[in-house]
């Protein structure tokens, strides 16, 4: 018995940290979402859907689109690192692609703000190259800017996971397909990607959840409506002290993130069965 107690004692600090700093605040927020002036009710949610339905859809669309683009980009990077036959190009890509991972979201927002604006570097370059007249230049500082920021920042992370998984698959399975005449693209799509599907899914889900919680990028790049839920939550709390609606928005974010995790859990259970 004392041995068992000792074991419990050892995990207790960790358990306490999780309970008091994570689970308890979560429960309090969840409960708070249903509290309207000391009574329980749906008031906060009614208000949330009245004011922010567009933003919820906006968030889901932006994050989903970004996830898809991140998936495509990271498969392309991982695929080239695995199947590329030009050693110098592979080495350069291997060295380059991870850099955005070490740049904080706020800095990404800052960089892209100056890059994507109407008079930003991108448009200036296009104008100087004669591809664009100054009159046709438009600012990308809207939903497109957010998607670009997310994809730019999150692709290296997913690509890192995917490239690692691709490097560890049995090379013979690739050569067996080459032996039968598979082209490079078919090798990637039909042989390599299916074998790293689980890793890719995990990376994309982690990215999805990360993007759901980014505040700086929508604030920096998209200072207009509709915007993302994180900006709305910050606004409710900072401008109105309205914790009820903020909690409701938070809970909705949690449900969105949770549903993705659920899809992953189901897929992984099916894989094991």
């Amino acid at each position: 018995m004392p041995k068992r107690l000792l074991g419990l004692l050892l995990v207790l600090p960790a358990l306490a940290v999780i309970a008091f700093l994570f689970i308890l605040p979560l429960i309090m927020s969840a409960v708070g979402a249903f509290q309207v002036e000391e009574a329980f009710g749906w008031g906060n949610f009614i208000k949330t859907f009245d004011l922010y339905t567009k933003d919820i859809i906006f968030t889901v669309v932006i994050v989903s689109l970004s996830t898809v683009l991140i998936g495509i980009a990271s498969i392309a990077i991982g695929g080239y690192l695995t199947l590329g036959e030009h050693p110098v190009a592979v080495a350069i890509l291997r060295w380059l692609y991870r850099w955005p991972m070490f740049i904080p979201f706020i800095v990404v927002g800052q960089i892209l703000r100056t890059f994507l604006s109407k008079n930003g570097m991108m448009n200036n370059t296009f104008i100087n190259l004669g591809l664009l007249t100054p009159l046709d230049a438009v600012s990308f500082l809207d939903w497109r800017g957010i998607v670009i920021a997310f994809v730019w920042k999150q692709t290296p992370f997913v690509a890192l996971l995917v490239a690692g998984a691709m490097a560890s698959i049995n090379r013979d399975t690739i050569e067996a397909a080459r032996n039968l005449g598979a082209s490079r693209l078919r090798l990637l799509v039909e042989i390599v990607v299916p074998q790293v599907a689980m890793t890719l899914t995990v990376g994309l889900i982690l990215s999805f959840v990360t993007m759901m919680s980014v505040l700086s990028v929508p604030l920096m790049i998209n200072a207009q409506s509709p915007t993302m839920l994180t900006a709305d939550i910050a606004f409710r709390v900072n401008s109105y002290g309205d914790y009820g609606v903020a909690n409701a928005l938070g809970l909705i974010s949690l449900v969105l993130a949770g549903s993705v995790a659920w899809i992953y859990l189901r897929a992984s259970l099916k894989e094991r069965a």
């Binding site: 050569e175 032996n179 005449g181 042989i191 299916p194 074998q195």
Partner: protein, 377 residues
Amino acid sequence: MERDGFLELRGVASHYGATQVLTDIDLSIAKGEFVALLGSSGCGKTTLLRLLAGFISPSAGEVKVRHRDVTHLPPDKRGMALVFQSYALWPHMTVAQNIGYGLKLKGVARAEIANRVAAMQSLLGLDGLEARKPQALSGGQRQRVALGRALAVDPEILLLDEPLSNLDARIRLTVRHELRALQKRLGITAIHVTHDREEAMVMADRIVILNAGKIAQAGTPEDVYNRPASAFVAAFMGAENVILLNGTLEDDDFSIAAGTANVAGNVPLAGRPLASGPVEARFRPEAARLFEAGEIAVIGPGITFRGEVAAVSYPGGHWRHVVRLGQTEIMADGTQAFEPGTRVGVFVPAEALFLFKSPEAASVSPISRASSGKVHA
């Protein structure tokens, strides 16, 4: 069999970085022939197979199929299919998808693929397993799926990279015969890489023994077993007993002078390129005949050694003796056991005694060390 020209290698060489892996490989393989590439690990046999398959380009020389130069063609344009040592089945595809993938790549119609896959399954005894994933198959079944995948595209040449090495010892014996029977039935040309001497012997029409990236000998199993071209081949084919002898050339005979451990003997030259002077003699333990020192030696061409039994063990079927002959030890099998310490004679008949021009006297010694280790195993 069109001996010349079906699959030909001319002066093929390959290097990996600064290391020369293959040097000057010349080989001509007939249609329908089963050739085993035999060698210890690192001898270049897998490199040679991958070079044939088109995964690596030779640094020199050319590979021809039916007089057509395929040296720089991509893997799928050579009419060859490779069966990998790891099988390399695609884990996300079912058995049927694995077997049919090559046909799908060739743009064969779906119904036709289904027919060919079903035919391949019944040929290989995989009926009813089409919906299984590779993880749900036994080792033997996986091996057959890998074979089916290679055969489905109807290759002219089947390349086998140690396909049996991952199987249980017992299954391996039956698969050897199945594979060989299948190859004969389909009339397909097969090149089989292995490090297993017995496997090569029972499966192949011809054995090509590789040593340090060069062909040490190529011939029928009987040839390489009974007429090894070099001391390396003799040792690789089991003649691990090695002794240095002195002899002189006398017409068609090679007469061996009496030494510290052997009495004088005479063996027919039989076309061997020997010169008077020191020679390296090799023989298999099972070729030796043991008798007590007092007995009269067996009459016939050959050579008799005299020594003392150092150890005896029973590996099954016969008694294996370690016999000390002066400085060296040899192994000799006998139907009866001689106690350690017994003075014995060891007779090796001429046809089982392999003589080679002696290299440096010093470079011969390591064999006896290896053999004494085996006795205690």
